[in-house]
């Protein structure tokens, strides 16, 4: 008995030691990004260029999930790529650190149009990665609509035809817009109205999805889906029956940008990574692979003419009328409450 006990404890100690060791000289850089939001060969390129850095790449499905994971502690990340309003929240809660732009000379490639947004007015914390709009991806063989508005999604003739997003801001935002309100409304009355409208939409909803919605649309599972422009571009490249419409009553215009959290362990390497992501070749690879719109002037130049003229780069008029999600501060709780009420009544 005693021998066995000793043997067991030796094995246990040995196991725990080898688990803690991680005895490599390479630095591990933890990158946390949206799912399906990079050309993964770029990560290999980076590791080939900087052999002493190993990238640990993880993905999330929406900004709120990323926020919870970051806030919950336990894991520390070196680079995050959240959206505008979430960056504003992270800055407000003092979770990000200022970047040293001396380490990111490629920042000069970023178009001035995407700098100085209200989420980071002084351009201290973030480097824009991609931008896009929210719209409706539809199957031309099943839907013939002349003018898409957000109300198209609520039209009773589209029974079991719509894939909605399992995303709080997008879902509430587009519903508010369809009611003629701002996508950033913090009026309890307007939000409740939006909630009621969403509950009444139930017969139209074929599913509530995130990235898996792309596969469903490509397979021809549903006639319509709420989708980001970049994901839509990818779906269309896989299934030519699909097309994308930016609703005429106005849409959301977003920028996702690279930031470094306060508790990052390798800030300099993180800046090296951000700079690498802003090299023309890398930015072009990513833009071509994921279909989102690049804020990188060098990469934009290299894009095929057809892409530049597509919905991926809409007219300035559309963008001027589009709304950027604003950080809701103390009204975030109201959104959370309305969202939970909605989910519970499905």
């Amino acid at each position: 008995m005693k021998k066995l006990a000793i043997l067991l404890s030796i094995v246990l100690v040995a196991l725990s030691l080898s688990a803690c060791g991680g005895n490599s000289d390479r630095i591990t850089l933890n990158v946390y990004n949206w799912g399906e939001y990079i050309d993964e060969s770029v990560l290999d390129d980076f590791e080939a260029k900087y052999p002493n850095i190993k990238i640990n790449y993880e993905t999330y499905a929406d900004n709120e999930t990323m926020y919870t994971k970051l806030k919950g502690g336990g894991s520390s990340y070196d680079v995050l790529i959240p959206s505008d309003y979430m960056i504003a929240r992270l800055i407000d809660e003092d979770l990000l650190q200022k970047l040293n732009f001396d380490n990111i000379p490629n920042y000069s490639y970023i178009d001035d149009k995407y700098k100085g947004w209200s989420y980071d007015p002084e351009n201290e914390y973030s480097v824009p990665y991609m931008w896009g709009t929210l719209g409706i991806l539809y199957d031309k063989t099943k839907v013939s609509e002349k003018d898409f508005t957000w109300n198209t999604l609520f039209d009773p003739k589209y029974e079991r035809s719509v894939l909605m997003k399992n995303d709080m801001r997008d879902t509430l935002g587009l519903t508010l817009k369809s009611l003629g309100y701002s996508m950033n409304s913090t009026s309890e009355k307007e939000l409740k109205e939006a909630k009621e409208k969403l509950i009444a939409q139930k017969p139209n909803v074929a599913g509530r999805v995130n990235d898996e919605g792309m596969d469903k649309m490509i397979a021809g599972e549903a006639p319509m889906a709420v989708m980001y422009s970049g994901d839509a571009a990818y779906c269309i490249s896989e299934n030519p029956d699909l097309d994308f419409a930016i609703p005429s009553d106005g849409t959301n215009y977003f920028v996702d940008a690279m930031v470094i959290p306060k508790n990052a362990e390798h800030k300099e390497e993180a800046e090296l990574f951000i700079n690498f992501m802003c090299e023309t070749e890398t930015a072009l690879k990513n833009a071509l692979e994921i279909g989102y719109s690049t804020p990188h002037t060098g990469a934009y130049e290299e894009l095929p003419e057809k892409t530049k003229k597509s919905f991926q780069y809409p007219d300035d008029a559309i963008l001027e009328s589009a709304e950027v999600y604003s950080y809701l501060k103390d009204k975030t709780d109201l959104y959370d409450k309305i969202w939970t009420d909605f989910i519970a009544s499905i």
Partner: protein, 276 residues
């Protein structure tokens, strides 16, 4: 000396229990019973109070209902399988056992995701049905799909406890019964069934509890149209970052599950009931 050895051997198990069961439970209780007002933490029942609302109670009732249906199906489908596995009639017993265990080697998420591609409108099954002239059907996005997913994923957890409790029944008892003139039906109702009740109970527990709390199955196979209490809890932790509320719901679910299990155990503890 022997005592020390025992303590050392038990140490990993105790450590496991404390770190992965007791500490998380304590954390859940901590979040559920506190409320932060600015920087002041105070004891509060507020999270529990906000659970008492018709829509959430309805979601809880739906979770219990679907899980109960799935448990019943697993029991009635699993018991005969367990008997066949435990009996001597079937020659390729080992093969059958492997067939039941093999899917469990694969990740639960992957298996559920696979059903998505099999069952969706343009999926494998519908393509075959369509080719046979039977038309396409909507399988996903409703409560049946969620129950199906629960049964599929949890059936082995019903079969194996019953199987092992039937295996433990001494063949001498059955032979004695046969000698005394009881037929197969009587042997089943008077010997096999009562003696396999512990297996049935643990089978029910192992199917019912994960069924009540699942959120992956409802999200995948219910296409987000069938909301279970697990979905609400998940939303509170991942999206709404309202951990207190999420923790409170978890505790309510735990209590409800305990009550259900207690009722089932009491019900089957009555000897005359089990002997019927």
């Amino acid at each position: 000396m022997k005592k020390l050895g025992k303590a050392v051997v038990l140490f990993p198990f105790v450590l496991w229990m404390v770190l992965l069961i007791l500490v998380p439970l304590a954390l859940i209780a901590y979040y559920a019973f506190t409320k932060s007002d600015g920087n002041i933490l105070q004891f509060s029942f507020e999270n529990f109070k906000s659970f008492i609302r018709p829509d959430l109670l309805l979601v809880l009732a739906r979770s219990l209902k679907l899980s109960l249906i799935a448990t019943a199906i697993c029991l009635f489908a699993g018991y005969p399988v367990a008997m066949i596995l435990a009996g001597n009639t079937f020659k390729k017993k080992a093969l059958l056992l492997v067939l039941f265990i093999a899917p469990m080697w694969m990740n639960f998420l992957l298996r559920t995701y696979a059903w998505l591609t099999l069952l969706e409108g343009t999926g494998v099954i519908n393509t075959i049905l369509d080719a046979l002239g039977l038309g396409t059907h909507t399988f996903l996005g409703n409560e049946n799909a969620v129950v199906f997913g629960m049964v599929y994923n949890l059936l082995p957890y019903m079969i194996f406890p019953i199987y092992s409790s039937i295996c433990k029944i001494s063949p001498n008892i059955l032979e004695a019964a046969e000698d005394l003139g009881s037929n197969a039906y009587t042997r089943f109702t008077r010997i096999i069934l009562p003696l396999s009740i512990p297996g049935v109970l643990s089978g029910i527990t192992m199917v019912f509890v994960p069924g009540v709390t699942t959120f992956v199955i409802s999200q995948f196979l219910g296409s987000g149209n069938v909301i279970l209490i697990g979905d609400i809890i998940e939303q509170q932790f991942t999206r709404a970052s309202n951990w207190g509320f999420g923790a409170a719901i978890s505790i309510v679910v735990m209590i409800v599950v305990f009550i259900c299990m207690w009722i089932i155990n009491r019900f089957t503890d009555e000897p005359e009931v089990t002997m019927l």
